[in-house]
Symmetry: C2
Subunit: 502 residues, 2 copies
């Protein structure tokens, strides 16, 4: 019922079709759209914009929370709508355009985008497009399955377009906690002192006159592309469980651990899923994206509270959870990504951060983003907010990719997203390396012994031995450091760097 979804009567006459709403977006504008990890993105207006661009070319800067679902980034890229894109994406079509240099992609720490906007260090948002489950009696905008940057987009933009999505459960209302840090130089502490702290409003509070158009839609969120746990992800989870049990035995952690953050994706999701069969209990999450494992852990009685910026579930899990999301509401909060990822809160709460590496090197430097050091996959996302500032920073990956042609443990990463200073523990299915308190030479020994796949182990050990003869805090044979990547680039197989028998 429109009355339930637009509860402030004088706003109901602002409902228009998507093309009419999209007409507010002009060539050259900066547009802020809702959407975080394929959840809660505006759906109708960007599609209408892409359609219009096919007839009447235009290009914009598109800023979102994080990745969009419904192939929107691909559709917009194909219609050449995207001149610039920030701060994250995960779309194969857009990725291709980025790597071809057709779209300028600004890959940012997810906590920082709205700080840059608020302080006008990047061009201002002209139009915000935000998906909502409802507009309240007072004109407050209730987001759907993500908050992302939507609140600040709506606050900072000149015009706001609301997409009321009737396929999103009205029961989501009350889940959100919208807190905006005050302006400097009089900024006060963010009062979040535990994952369950509620410190803001359950809606985005903007003057109603800024709402330029309201569009109705019923397109669903895309499902998560996360794969179920397999033998290797289970092994990674088991190594981490064993490690945490050791920490508990040494009195460093309790069975409750500390608030958990897990990056998006199959491996991090599988790691958390594995915690179902452990003695850990009364766990809490303070994360970005809440995936299937969040609800599995809650249903198993292991997880008592989860704070995030979005909910992104598999198709099956969506059908299970969203019809009864009301049952979880007392145990869930969705926050702006600036708060879910805020350095202040991450350090205060002492987050255990679990993120996925594309590759790591013998010294513990992490590449999260660039294939062969040059080609973008998705982006750094929020991993840097958590890895730098948390209690403990863990990176996980399978030791091999492409059927063994690629080793995820390399002599030197060809792109650095997280430096050795920010990495405490690395884990593959082969084993775990606890790097805390170790110098680079010691890190290399542990990583080579524990994490690299046997196919690559001896060659990597030989590289390190030869590097050691050259000395240094972080010994390398510079002219060989990227030989594996060059082989991968030229032959699709890192093993070609050291053998012709492939």
């Amino acid at each position: 019922m429109l009355e339930d979804r637009i509860r402030r009567p004088d706003l109901r006459n602002r409902v228009v079709d998507a093309a009419t709403a999209a007409a507010h977006i002009k060539d050259g504008m900066t547009v802020g759209m809702s959407g975080f990890t394929r959840a809660g993105e505006a759906k109708a207006v960007p599609l209408a914009l892409a359609e219009r661009a096919l007839r009447d070319p235009l290009s914009i800067t598109l800023i979102t929370g994080a990745s969009l679902g419904n192939d929107l980034d691909q559709t917009l890229a194909k219609a050449h709508v995207l001149a610039r894109r920030m701060p994250f994406q995960s779309d194969p079509g857009l990725r291709k355009a980025i790597n071809a240099g057709e779209v300028m992609f600004i890959d940012q720490h997810l906590s920082e985008t709205v700080e840059l906007l608020r302080t006008r260090q990047i061009p201002p948002v002209d139009v915000a497009v935000v998906e909502a489950v409802a507009i309240t009696e007072s004109g407050g905008i209730v987001p759907t399955t993500s908050v992302g940057n939507s609140a600040s987009f709506a606050i900072l933009a000149e015009k706001v377009i609301i997409e009321i999505n009737t396929s999103q459960s009205a029961m989501l209302e009350g889940l959100h906690d919208i807190y905006i840090p005050s302006h400097r130089p009089s900024r006060m502490p963010i009062p979040v002192v535990s994952p369950e702290s509620r410190v803001g409003l359950p809606y985005i509070d903007i003057p109603a006159e800024k709402i330029a158009a309201i569009v109705l839609s019923d397109k669903q969120d895309s499902s998560s592309t996360v794969l179920p746990p397999d033998e290797e992800t289970r092994a990674i989870s088991e190594h981490l469980t064993e490690f945490f049990l050791g920490e508990i035995a040494r009195g460093r952690l309790t069975n409750q651990l500390l608030p958990l953050q897990a990056g998006i994706g199959t491996i991090a999701n599988a790691v958390l899923h594995g915690f179902i069969d452990t003695p850990f209990h009364d766990l809490k999450m303070y994360s970005e994206v809440l995936q299937d494992s969040t609800f599995d852990l809650m249903d198993a009685g292991k997880l008592v509270f989860a704070s995030g910026s979005s909910i992104t579930l598999s198709a099956e899990k969506s059908r299970d959870i969203f019809p009864r999301i009301g049952d979880y509401k007392s145990r869930l909060i969705l926050r702006p990504q600036e708060v879910s990822n805020h350095p202040e809160v991450v350090r205060r709460l002492g987050i255990i951060a679990i993120n996925t590496a594309l590759e790591f090197d013998i010294y513990g430097n992490i590449n999260s983003t660039h294939v062969n050091g040059t080609h973008m996959m998705n982006g750094i996302g929020g991993s840097g907010d958590f890895a730098r500032n948390g209690y403990m920073s863990i990176f996980v990956t399978k030791s091999l990719a492409k059927g063994g042609a690629i080793s995820s443990v390399v002599p030197m990463v060809a792109h650095v997203d997280h430096t050795e200073h920010d990495v405490d523990v690395v884990v593959t299915e082969c084993g775990l390396a606890d790097l805390r308190g170790l110098a680079p030479r010691e890190r290399a020994q542990k990583i080579i012994a524990n994490c690299v796949h046997p196919t690559y182990r001896d060659v990597l050990a030989d590289y390190h031995d030869r590097a050691l003869t050259r000395g240094g805090q972080t010994p390398h044979v510079l002219e060989e450091a990227f030989s594996w990547h060059v082989a991968a680039r030229d032959h699709g197989d890192m093993r070609r760097a050291f053998t012709t028998e492939i």
Copy 2:
């Protein structure tokens, strides 16, 4: 007078000579010593320890605030006392031992060391050795010219040795603000909301029974090794001043700017010194180390308040300032480095962070630490605490080193301490590149046009052009990316990578 310096009478009988005090330190122990950027380090006990080690070998893990003065790191390294050292050093002798693999050096973000200790993620401190100007009536320990990690060392150690240094001005008392974050999971916000916030005690509060020995000393702090401004550092300062004036003109900053952090060293000191001749006023610093420029700016009426973790001055400036340090006390605070560098406070206050790069690459990645990617200079220090979390992250360096044989702007840095995500502005004497909101390909154009020395410019532009033909978000020719470093390593001259006419 001993009575003024040890005001709690029952502690006066704990005064012993340095060798007797040092006897509390046994082989294999972890020792936490005061000292930050050559200021306020314990002086007598480490010397006695080094002397003893020559007769009776022992090795320890030494943790400090940051670098030590009085050649202590060198003396300890020569006596083979140091098995492990963290989190920072800047000593030529120790550096040699580190790069030879004789001392394991753990190079840490300066805000993180005591978090790791407090949560027992690294081995506990057995003995703390802290320089003090006085012990109060209640047994409180008043640090000298630095706080560093001294407070947490004293709180966490089993035994504490105090060095009362009578050459340090008694007027330093009242300058310090010792605040220790509460334990998780009940940690509260750190109440620092401006550089001048006083939130703790003016002394380190520990049970007097932990004080195992008191040693008297009168050895002075070493002077800063900072060089006076020269033509190039003046040019860097002018580029930055012009940039800030542009930000003010665009309404992004006021003439007060935002609280300033400046890394230790000649260039950052010169940059701040240059602010004397600008329209900026009522400036504040929220930094680690307060150098000559801090006092020059105060004396010029430009700087109204400075918060740091240490005061490190040139010989001349020391003779000028310390006798009248009382005059500055209402405008100065010295804090634990955990608080001066805390991500929470750094983000809240919106720090403008100015740090020195060893080299940076065409995409804005920074190497602060490793010569030719392998050999340690000093360490990352606090630069990562500020660069990741501040309002704006600026890196400065001269475009050339070694008489032109080394370019500080390279195709790809051979070691990454700060990723492009953490770098907003880079400056050399040639010019400034504002990288905010730019994709890597755009960053490269600006850096090559503005920052690289003309000797290297065309070759660097050619590298980037050829890299572009290979595509990607961050194009590189991997097999050539380190060719300049290889030439520097093998021939002492990067130009040998592209010309034989050297």
